[in-house]
Symmetry: C2
Subunit: 242 residues, 2 copies
DNA sequence: CCTTGACCCTGACGTAACGTAAGGGTGTAT
DNA sequence: ATACACCCTTACGTTACGTCAGGGTCAAGG
């Protein structure tokens, strides 16, 4: 059983914040001394760690509470998606770093802000929230995707990579060829069906991410061969009317 | 010359935010139409990009203004440090991702929060702010480090790596051997002299960063051979009384 | 010329997630 | 017995915006 002070030192979370979380009902201490001192046990600490992960993803405290308290809450599923979101965040940071390096090297007069774009992250987060029942859309989601098993989800990821392999086979044709454009439409439909509603806007953002150096590009090029990611990105740009 | 709407769509910054920045004097439009509509040119956009980089590092707007308006402001120097800070942030994210993966795999009952630690980033940011004159400490900093040229700074980085090479030579001895402890003291002194005041607390945080997978460990192991980063980390832990 | 719809303006107020300070108990070491 | 490091609650302050409300602007169409 740890006091606020100890927890604060261990976790880096301020005492005031612990009190605040308690007042919100977000994180109650396991017990209190007679004098009213808060005492935290390992269960509380584990919850705090979950909270900190969500906070890292800029989830509002109210939603964190809703998610953690939801009867549907599944720790493992939550972690999976949190990891995915953290990866997206890292990729975004990498693109920003690359931008800053560009700015430093050349005077970089072409005004580029794509790197700051976070539409994809937000869209994904939105989807995760719906799934988690942080919002009332949960039931709707359940009806659409509830029956999916872990294997089905994994096979979706494989199918996704398969799409890029198919892109790879076309990569010597021009980006505005009918074949490339058809594949782009397929990609968009696939994302909408399996992950989140993919508007042209979001699709374009995705294209930018694919082209930037990072894990995305690496994985796509692995699936479809060197240069596939760039090709997909160009095809998407054409598809979205540049 | 772009209107608020155009700038907003280009950059992802909301119109309200642009108006707010204007009211703060942080980002004034290049001109106004007769009707009072804000009009932004490329100079303004470049400034906005700088602002967004600083915001990415969680600098308060008041400090961003102070830095950008400082007579000492040097775009290139700023970018260099921003990149460094963004890298630190990325490393932190990577550690958090690794933690989340650990949590998922094993139930992970050992309460570990090191990954969330951001002392090193804050310390580095503090140093950067002092250098940039965002705070009144600028003059003091100038006196201590003002005369440093770019080459001198680069040689400092080399010297830094040299320290790890020396650590590498000791890595078969125990972490609590006098030699390892002496090297640790040297490392601490070096950081204090060249980067920021390195307390035991911060040194320990650094040690944790070195050991975690990421660029830090890669670079250190490159300088001193496989396993050097881990060795340094252990030596630091001993030095700081674990 | 007039209207409509998409923009733009300036207040003014609301909000989230804390920080800070005030006023006052607690616990144990000397 | 008092010093000192903790702890509590209550209340107000702060940052960086979001969200109206009330009211001009401007190009296109009838």
């Amino acid at each position: 059983m740890k006091t606020v002070n100890e927890v604060s030192k261990l976790t880096g979370v301020s005492i005031r914040t612990l009190q605040y979380y308690d007042s919100l009902g977000l994180l109650a201490p396991a017990a209190r001394t007679e004098a009213g001192y808060r005492l935290y046990d390992d269960t509380a600490l584990e919850r705090l760690r979950q909270i900190m992960l969500f906070r890292e993803l800029d989830f509002p405290l109210s939603e964190i509470k809703a998610i953690l308290d939801s009867p549907h809450f599944d720790r493992n599923d939550a972690l999976t998606r949190q990891i995915e979101l953290l990866r997206l965040k890292k990729e975004r940071l990498e693109r920003i770093i690359a931008l800053a390096e560009d700015m430093k090297q050349k005077g970089d007069t072409d005004m580029d802000f794509e790197a700051f774009d976070s539409k994809v992250i937000e869209e994904y987060a939105q989807r995760a929230k719906e799934k988690w029942g942080g919002t009332p859309q949960y039931e709707e989601y359940e009806q659409k995707h509830g029956g999916e098993t872990a294997e089905e989800q994994k096979s979706a990821a494989d199918e996704f990579m398969e799409l890029f392999a198919q892109f790879g086979a076309l990569k010597d044709k021009p980006a505005d060829s009918p074949e490339a454009q058809e594949m782009t439409a397929k990609l968009k439909a696939f994302i909408t069906e399996h992950y989140y509603t993919c508007t042209d806007e979001i699709l374009y953002s995705l294209g930018q991410m694919y082209a930037a150096e990072g894990e995305f590009r690496t994985n796509i090029d692995r699936a479809g061969g060197e240069g596939t990611a760039g090709f997909v990105s160009r095809a998407i740009a054409v598809y979205c009317g540049k």
